[in-house]
Amino acid sequence: MNEWLYVGLFFIVGLIIPVGAIGVGWLLGPKKPNPIKQSTYECGIEPVGEGWVQFKAQYYIFALVFLVFDVETVFLFPWAVKLGQLGMFAVVEGIVFILILVAGLVYTWRKGMLEWA
């Protein structure tokens, strides 16, 4: 049988347990909402403005570099699995592959995009 069925069972049970715990908490706890209790928490003072702030564009840069490296490393996993049975050629291939991407990291670094300014 497909081994993923068992992984699926873990997903299902992993959903049931927290839902059950939160459900029990919801049943046992009091339910007396009022406007003050429902207002968002800002260290005890009245909330200022809406719950939204403009973000630094820097977050996007880090997500971008992460995306590129994530995809690259995923590519490298089949290579690493097979490496023990392959010769020098495969090693050089992998090193070239990594170096090309490290060049991207160096470019981003030199452009000053990795600074949290």
Binding site: Y59, Y60, L64, V71, V96, G104
Partner: protein, 169 residues
Amino acid sequence: MTGEQVIFLIVGAVTLIAALMVVTVRDLVHAALWLVATLFGVAIIYTLLNAGFLAVVQVVVYIGAIAILFIFAVMLTRRQAADTGAALNKNWWAGALLAVLTFTGLFFMLQSWSGFQKQAAAIPSGFDAINQLGDALTSPAGFVLPFEVASVLLLAALVGAVYLAFNKK
């Protein structure tokens, strides 16, 4: 109907509904979250096709990276918390018509094809997809060039994106 077929039908229906939500909901963060649901459904479809490695990669790359990037981009390109205004443009009916036509066209084209109802062959014992993939990606007779070109493509994308989005003027 076998168990696999039941799972396929449920997952397929959920995937398609989630995809419909992606293209119709107004709030873009919700659209991105529905995209995550769609992508997860596609990952389950991969496991049904015995491509476990691709299913895991789908979750790592799409949900772990691309969906996060989408959410970041959505939050960077708005001035208030919620999206307002219409989700669809004035010519949405033309788009819908074209989409339906595409689907019917594909459906009838595929139906006339002889291999449409093909059944899968059994997987040979001892078959390890990751091992085979490693072979294919590293042997000179296989896909070495696409493997290296992919890294150049990713480099170009990184350089281009950094240059485009944050060229300080």
